[in-house]
């Protein structure tokens, strides 16, 4: 394993939209520009902030903060409800733009992506990547709107490119090479590094590593044996030096959805209706990936901050909304009261199977045809054209959410 820094030419570019949802809202609603804006899922005082504009961040407003707390910091902050269709449109514009530079583009989430120029044409590679970064910034303005801004980071691997993109927000463009790596790390805290949150910081602190430079200087052996106690240690050793260890995809392990109840006074029947709505969403997500599941997991968070969960594995795989809800509602019978948040997930996922192989082939084949017909109708006439009768009134509360962290459903 190399101890030296990666001296290759930096050919990985990370592009990150600044305060993505707030910026898109300021783009689409010109009167919001230059004002403190908080994007929220629900326009209530207790709602958590999903994204804040830079004008709000300047006064200390943070993601996850309650809106009423943000109002204490910035009394004239404006709450805007999320509009996923708009963000998806910008995501696709951004991805199309990035693909004009290299076929190897990976979108890491709804607001950030990576262009790997190692797989670009020789003509493209011959260009200065800083120029391309500036060009992309200008194209964002020309092809989406004048208020759009993004950070661009360039380096030899994804980790350092993302680190570079975070150095000068908003609207920065930075390059990290083996030459300025130490200088860059000297200005940072451990938790500024992507992947190092409180838990990992404590692990590093426990062996005397307090700064990114000390982290960089630690041997692969110490990181493996004393800090991460796994192969993750060697990976961090390589990652910090600019070698690529993150160019891989992970299989889909679970599909889930959660919902914070709109009121603390809902009856059990109404909570079950919302659970049913979640089960329908989870079923649609599962089938959109051509997967079947064998396990269902439900959880509850209460107003007393307690957490309850239950799970069940089945011998036969399932994929229909009906099957997911039947299992989830059985499990839910043991849930405590005074519920604040509910969630449903499917796990033990596998590829869609041919029902004819099973002893229950006929029954499964009939169910499959029915589910396929419902999915086709919903695809033709719009989501939730056909749904369970008891979720008739839930759509106005359990709205479509923004898929953070995964681009599978965009």
């Amino acid at each position: 394993m190399s101890k030296a820094y990666n001296t290759d030419r930096p050919l990985v570019m990370h592009i990150d939209l600044n305060s993505c949802f707030a910026t898109v809202e300021q783009q689409s609603r010109p009167l919001l520009r230059g004002r403190p804006v908080a994007v929220v899922n629900r326009r209530t005082e207790n709602t958590a902030i999903i994204t804040a504009s830079y004008e709000a961040k300047k006064y200390g407003v943070k993601v996850g903060m309650r809106f009423k707390e943000a109002k204490l910091l910035v009394p004239d902050i404006i709450a805007v409800e999320t509009d996923p269709a708009k963000y998806r449109f910008v995501y696709h514009k951004m991805m199309d733009m990035m693909k004009t530079y290299s076929p190897h583009v990976v979108m890491k989430s709804i607001d950030e992506g990576v262009i790997d120029f190692k797989h670009a044409t020789a003509q493209m590679r011959a260009r200065d990547l800083r120029d391309i970064g500036e060009e992309i910034k200008q194209r964002m303005k020309d092809e989406i709107g004048s208020a759009m801004r993004c950070n661009v980071g360039i380096s030899t691997n994804r980790f350092l490119a993302k680190t570079a993109a975070g150095l000068h927000k908003p609207d920065g463009l930075d390059v990290i090479t083996h030459e300025n790596l130490r200088e860059t790390f000297a200005t940072m805290e451990l938790t500024d590094l992507t992947g190092i949150a409180k838990h990992n910081e404590h692990r590093l602190n426990a062996v005397g590593i307090e700064t990114p430079l000390q982290f960089l200087d630690a041997s692969a052996e110490i990181l493996h044996k004393m800090v991460f106690k796994s192969v993750c240690g060697e990976e961090w050793h390589q990652r910090l030096r600019g070698y690529e260890v993150d160019d891989r995809e992970f299989d889909l392990k679970t599909v889930g959805r959660q919902y914070v109840l709109e009121s603390p006074h809902l009856s059990s029947e109404k909570i079950l209706q919302r659970l049913h709505h979640l089960a329908e969403s989870v079923g649609a997500k599962l089938r959109s990936q051509n997967k079947v599941a064998r396990g269902v997991f439900v959880y509850v968070k209460t107003y007393e901050r307690t957490y309850w969960h239950a799970r069940r594995m089945c011998e036969m795989p399932f994929y229909s909304n009906q099957a997911i809800y039947a299992l989830a509602s059985q499990l839910f019978a043991g849930a405590p009261g005074h519920i604040r948040e509910i969630g449903v997930s499917c796990y033990e996922l596998g590829d869609d199977l041919d029902p004819q192989l099973s002893l229950f082939g006929d029954k499964l084949a009939t169910e499959k045809q029915l589910v396929a017909a419902i999915d086709e109708l919903n695809g033709r006439y719009g989501d939730r054209t056909i749904h369970a009768a008891d979720t008739l009134g839930t759509g106005m509360y359990v709205k479509q959410k923004i898929p953070f962290g995964s681009t599978r459903y965009l």
Binding site: V24, Q27, S28, R29, P30, L31, L32, R35, R43, D76, I78, A79, V80, A85, K86, F89, V90, D142, E143, I144, G145, N378, G379, R380, Y381, G382, T385
Partner: protein
């Protein structure tokens, strides 16, 4: 909170079809009350698929309020679906 009104108001719109970032540009619209509003800027235009129907959503402003106009490309109708002002 800002003042935001959700509407479903059929409107008449003068639209220019041309080139550039927004090849379809609503430039002026008349509300059911008869009030005419001049669009000074299109913030963002994005499509929204409702089943097989394509709705084009235009977030626009007249400088005093932000409006959302929706053009149904199947029925060829325009609706005003949101008005937001008084960002105080």
């Amino acid at each position: 909170m800002n003042d935001e009104t959700l509407l479903n108001e059929r409107i008449e719109v003068i639209t220019v079809f041309g080139e550039g970032l927004n090849p379809c540009r609503p430039v002026r619209f008349r509300r059911s009350s008869g009030r005419e509003i001049e669009v000074t800027e299109i913030g963002l235009r994005h499509p929204s698929v409702q089943g097989r129907r394509m709705i084009h959503i235009f977030d626009v402003t007249d400088g005093g309020a932000d409006y959302r106009l929706e053009f149904d490309s199947e029925r060829l109708t325009w609706h005003l679906t949101r008005e937001a002002d008084h960002y105080e």
